[in-house]
């Protein structure tokens, strides 16, 4: 006991003394118990000797009074108890014997289960599906929403969130603010990070587009992460002497360099400028933004210095993350930050010129990083977690029902065991161990399911401009939740059968006429109830799935472009640092000209964003000369885009090669925009002003196209305008190519070849069809819709199994009754309807409970539905019909068996 415990004792006075005594005696108890567990022989021998001695001494005394030894021993045994009973009593009084019998029960359960491998297999598979589905979905939601960053002391991290004048939150703040904040005594340190696409090349190979993050030099030290290779940026860079260094991400290092351990010191080129590899970031670190994993990181240039090859390196705006000093609260820090940022935001030219300047800075916990690309999926994921929970409940019901049936048929076994002295508690515990064993096996299988289906979500997430990557290696939270689900399942499925199997007295169980026993009827009633609950829950899942699927269908039907699988998209990134305004226009025109001339190509055009927006939607504020205004979506396109996509031109003309930098600025609008601003007037020739690169320009309207859901399939078409790519320079345009045949593979390689002929330094990436991008636009709906449909199918299967099992059992139980009915002249059809009628009553009851619940859930998810009312009669009718057909089938097989009952055999049965 050192000083610490001394002062502790002083503080708490006598209390601690008592506590210590209790702890000491607990420890002694534990030690003695462990000794008797592990030195069983020795301890048993000692007890033997002691008790024997006791009995001998008692006998000797009797013998002194003149009894024969035999009589004396008999008398002592009668008066004081026998050796064996005494030992049993003493042993049962200790905790270690409890452990020991538990172990026996576990072993016994294992043997019982291995004796019926068929049942065990089905039970484990059913439960594993329930646990696996839960673990998978929870792990995904956890990775997307709740996971803590794998950095040192994540609790002290805060994110700085700029708030715009209209109260909207954005991300980037002036980089200088980081310096200001380092000088306050609120934060122990501050980092900045900002990212963009870069053209990467290595040893003279073709350019590849990667995402690079430019970070402040203290980035790795700030986060306290141990890199896989190297030490982060060099000491010089950390001191402020910039050098062209990069730290690769773990995954980029594995993919592009094959995990080569000698990669440090090699030179790569980014936008043609040489950088030296100084490190590889740790495997579990992705970035401070959920779903984002930039291929490499470079140090930010010091203020006032720039590199012509990359504007990103001297970017004046970035995301800021800070670390609170110990003892400083987030509210206090926010006040300090806001005060430090006011002057800076006011003086910042760029900020003040903005339509909607930043005027405040809000602080949020940075423990999980910023929600990033996964933020829109929050609701979808939560709904899925909930639905997966329902599936788990359903599998538990299903299994409870199976175990009840098993318990009923084992009642005689339990009665025999009770008759030879097993207490009810022991029997219940034994049953319980069995269900726990089942749950543990299923939990292990469930984890296997989780790790094999882990990347399921990836196929739903849009993979375009940024590859959305989630760290799906289960963390502690995921593992605990899987373990929790397993134990919960073990308890849920074990309770009812354990008590049911052991509740009846011995005589009832031993009676030969078990068919009449009351216990059976009770168990059957329980199973009926459980099946009804299963029907209700599966109806709930199925209707949800139906509503979601129909929403997706409705949205897909809105696709405004004919044959979208015949439109190929090639994203290109001519680095602005390498291609100035004039060169990029020439490049654009050349790309379109060459591609259009390829065989098999019907039309080709460029668009800055293109349908569904490669990065998002561009928006602008439009006003006419006489003061009418409208906000409109906009895109910057080349001639022939409308032909390529299949958007009809209603009035006027398309852009042409004659519209160029020298001629007057022109604009094409859609009919919604035309109606909004000009009502019934002819819009052709009208002037509309909007700001381009921070200057107001007047555009003349030369054409009107059909309104379409250009950027978003979820919204009815908003006003839309198109500007000319030759007049408003492109940045990262997408080449759209409409091909004649449905086999676009050859065209893809031909187009790539043309690009190589023009310039090998222009990276081409994200090659896909317009249909793929439309699907990306529906990612959230598809994620929920498809996964819910899978859950619904699983639920339907479980209900079918459950109902089949119940009806088969019921037919077996009623064999004699059916035999009598047949003997009295009942026809096949009557027997058939007797059984199916029983099954269908269960289904109808389940539906009666399930439908109202489904309506409630449908209204809860109403915001996630498109083009249909939550009470959509079609969805509800279809789903109920499908459920009816499947359950009828599940009843049909047992019913057919019932009709084959031979009255002679049945009446002799048992």
């Amino acid at each position: 006991m050192g000083e610490a415990s001394g002062s502790y004792r002083q503080n708490l006075g006598g209390f601690v003394k008592v506590e210590l005594g209790v702890i000491m005696s607990l420890l002694r108890n534990l030690a003695t118990g462990l000794r008797s567990l592990f030195c069983k022989e020795q301890v048993s021998k000692e007890l033997d000797e002691e008790v024997n001695g006791f009995l001998e001494m008692a006998a000797e005394e009797k013998m002194e009074q003149g009894m024969s030894r035999q009589d004396a021993l008999r008398r002592v045994r009668w008066e004081r108890g026998t050796l064996e009973v005494t030992k049993e009593v003493v042993r049962a009084g200790s905790w270690e014997s409890w452990v020991e019998t538990c172990w026996q029960d576990l072993y016994f359960g294992f043997r019982t289960l291995s004796k019926s491998p068929g049942f065990t297999f089905v039970a484990v598979v059913v439960l594993a599906l329930g646990i696996g589905v839960n673990a998978t979905i929870f792990n995904t939601a956890n990775a997307a929403l709740w996971r803590t960053l794998p950095v040192a002391d994540p609790q002290s991290l805060v994110r700085l969130i700029p708030v715009r004048q209209d109260n909207h939150e954005s991300e980037d703040l002036p980089v200088q603010l980081a310096g200001e904040l380092r000088r306050t005594d609120t934060f122990s340190d501050v980092i900045t990070s900002t990212d963009d696409g870069l053209s990467f090349s290595y040893k003279g190979g073709s350019a590849e587009r990667v995402l690079g993050e430019v970070v402040s030099p203290n980035f790795f030290a700030f986060l306290g992460i141990q890199p896989e290779l190297g030490e982060g940026f060099s000491a010089g860079v950390r001191k402020g002497e910039w050098a062209p260094e990069v730290v690769l991400s773990y995954r980029f290092w594995r993919r592009r360099f094959g995990g080569d351990p000698h990669v440090l010191g090699r030179t790569i080129r980014l936008n043609n400028y040489p950088f030296v590899i100084v490190g590889v970031s740790p495997r579990d670190f992705y970035s401070l933004r959920v779903g984002f994993d930039p291929e490499l990181r470079m140090p930010q240039l010091p203020p006032g210095v720039s590199l012509s090859q990359s504007e990103l390196l001297s970017s004046s705006y970035a995301e800021i993350t800070a670390r609170l000093k110990p003892g400083i609260g987030i509210v206090q820090a926010e006040t300090a930050t806001d005060a430090a940022s006011q002057q800076l935001l006011h003086d910042d030219q760029y900020n003040q010129r903005r339509v909607n300047p930043i005027c405040h800075v809000r602080l949020a916990s940075g423990r999980r990083g910023s929600p990033g690309e996964l933020a829109p999926y929050r609701t979808s994921l939560l709904v899925l977690v909930g639905l997966a929970g329902i599936v788990l409940l359903l599998t538990c019901f299903n299994l409870t029902s199976m175990l009840l049936a098993r318990a009923t048929s084992r009642r005689r076994e339990f009665a025999v065991r009770a008759a030879i002295g097993a207490g009810r508690g022991r029997l219940v515990r034994q049953m319980f161990m069995e269900s726990l064993l089942l749950a543990i096996a299923a939990g292990a299988a469930g984890l296997a399911i989780m790790s094999s289906t882990g990347n399921l979500i990836r196929s739903f997430l849009p993979q375009g401009h940024i590859n959305v990557v989630l760290d799906l290696n289960p963390d502690l939270r995921s593992l605990w939740s899987a373990l929790g689900a397993t134990l919960l399942a073990g308890v849920l499925i074990g309770l009812l059968p354990a008590f049911e199997a052991t509740r009846n007295n011995i005589t009832l169980g031993l009676k030969s006429d078990s068919a009449a026993s009351i216990g059976d009827a009770r168990a059957a009633a329980f199973r009926k109830g459980l099946t009804i609950a299963q029907v209700a829950l599966s109806l709930l899942l199925l209707t949800t799935a139906g509503l979601f699927e129909r929403s997706v269908r409705n949205l897909e039907a809105e696709d405004p472009f004919p044959q979208p699988d015949r439109v190929l998209l090639f994203r290109m990134k001519p680095q602005r640092e390498l291609y100035d305004g004039e060169r990029i226009r020439v490049l654009a025109a050349e790309v379109v000209r060459r591609t259009s001339a390829l065989p098999g190509v019907k039309a080709a055009a460029l668009a800055e964003e293109g349908p569904y927006g490669s990065r998002g939607a561009m928006r602008g504020h439009m006003h006419t000369l006489d003061g009418r205004t409208a906000d409109a979506d906009m895109d910057i396109v080349s001639p022939a885009l409308f032909t390529t996509l299949g958007i009809p031109l209603l009035n006027g003309r398309d852009f042409s090669v004659r519209d160029n930098e020298a001629s007057k600025p022109v604009m094409i609008v859609d009919e919604t925009f035309a109606r909004r601003l000009f009502a019934d007037d002819n819009p052709i020739g009208k002037l509309v002003k909007t700001s381009v690169h921070d200057t107001d320009v007047a555009f003349e309207i030369i054409g009107v196209v059909r309104a379409s859901r250009y950027y978003d399939l979820h919204q009815s078409p908003p006003p839309m305008v198109f500007l000319n790519l030759q007049q408003v320079g492109p940045y990262m345009p997408t080449l759209h190519v409409r091909v004649a045949s449905a086999n676009p593979e050859t065209v893809v390689s031909e187009v790539r070849h043309e690009f190589d002929l023009i310039d090998r330094g222009v990276p081409i990436f994200d090659v896909r069809t317009l249909r793929d991008r439309a699907l990306d636009n529906l990612a959230q709906q598809r994620l929920v819709g498809d996964l819910t449909a899978a859950l619904g199918a699983l639920a339907l299967g479980l209900v079918a199994i459950g109902l089949y099992g119940l009806m088969a059992f019921s037919v077996a139980r009623r064999t004699r009754e059916i035999g009598i009915r047949v003997a009295l002249g009942a026809e096949r059809r009557q027997i058939m309807s007797l059984v199916t009628g029983e099954g269908m009553r269960i289904v109808l009851t389940g539906v009666a409970f399930g439908l109202p619940a489904s309506f409630v859930v449908a209204h809860l998810i109403a915001a996630m539905l498109y083009g249909l009312h939550p009470n959509d009669p079609f969805s509800f009718a279809t789903v109920t019909f499908v459920l009816g057909v499947v359950t009828l089938l599940a009843c049909y097989l047992p019913a057919r068996r019932a009709t084959r009952v031979d009255p002679l055999v049945a009446l002799r049965y048992e």
Binding site: E50, G53, V89
Partner: protein, 110 residues
């Protein structure tokens, strides 16, 4: 099997064992004989209850066992009161006296 110790108030057996051992260290049979003698045959303890109680007391650290030879040259485990055991005995004796007096007052009140 007559087990008159079950007539004992719950927990009193522990107290009686402590009391017996308070006089001198003793083996199991000695304890049971002493209890029988002192109660003038009212309490007879069977082996199961006795050794269960001894196990409990030993694990709680109130008594301590040691193998020794008896006067009849037989090996037996002798139990002695530990310091915490002596304190517990004193406390329980006081408490018991208080309770008995109180119960007696209640019973004699009518």
């Amino acid at each position: 099997m007559p087990d008159r110790s079950s007539d004992l108030v719950q927990g009193t057996l522990d107290m009686l064992i402590l009391k017996t051992l308070g006089l001198e260290p003793m083996h199991g049979y000695g304890i049971s004989i002493r209890i029988e003698q002192m109660s003038q045959g009212v309490f007879r303890v069977n082996a199961g209850s006795l050794f269960l109680a001894i196990q409990r007391l030993e694990r709680a650290g109130l008594i301590k066992g040691e193998w020794r030879d008896t006067e009849n040259r037989r090996r037996a485990k002798y139990y002695a009161l530990t310091e915490p055991g002596r304190k517990r005995l004193n406390r329980e004796t006081r408490e018991w006296g208080r309770q008995v007096a109180a119960i007696a007052r209640i019973l004699e009140a009518s």
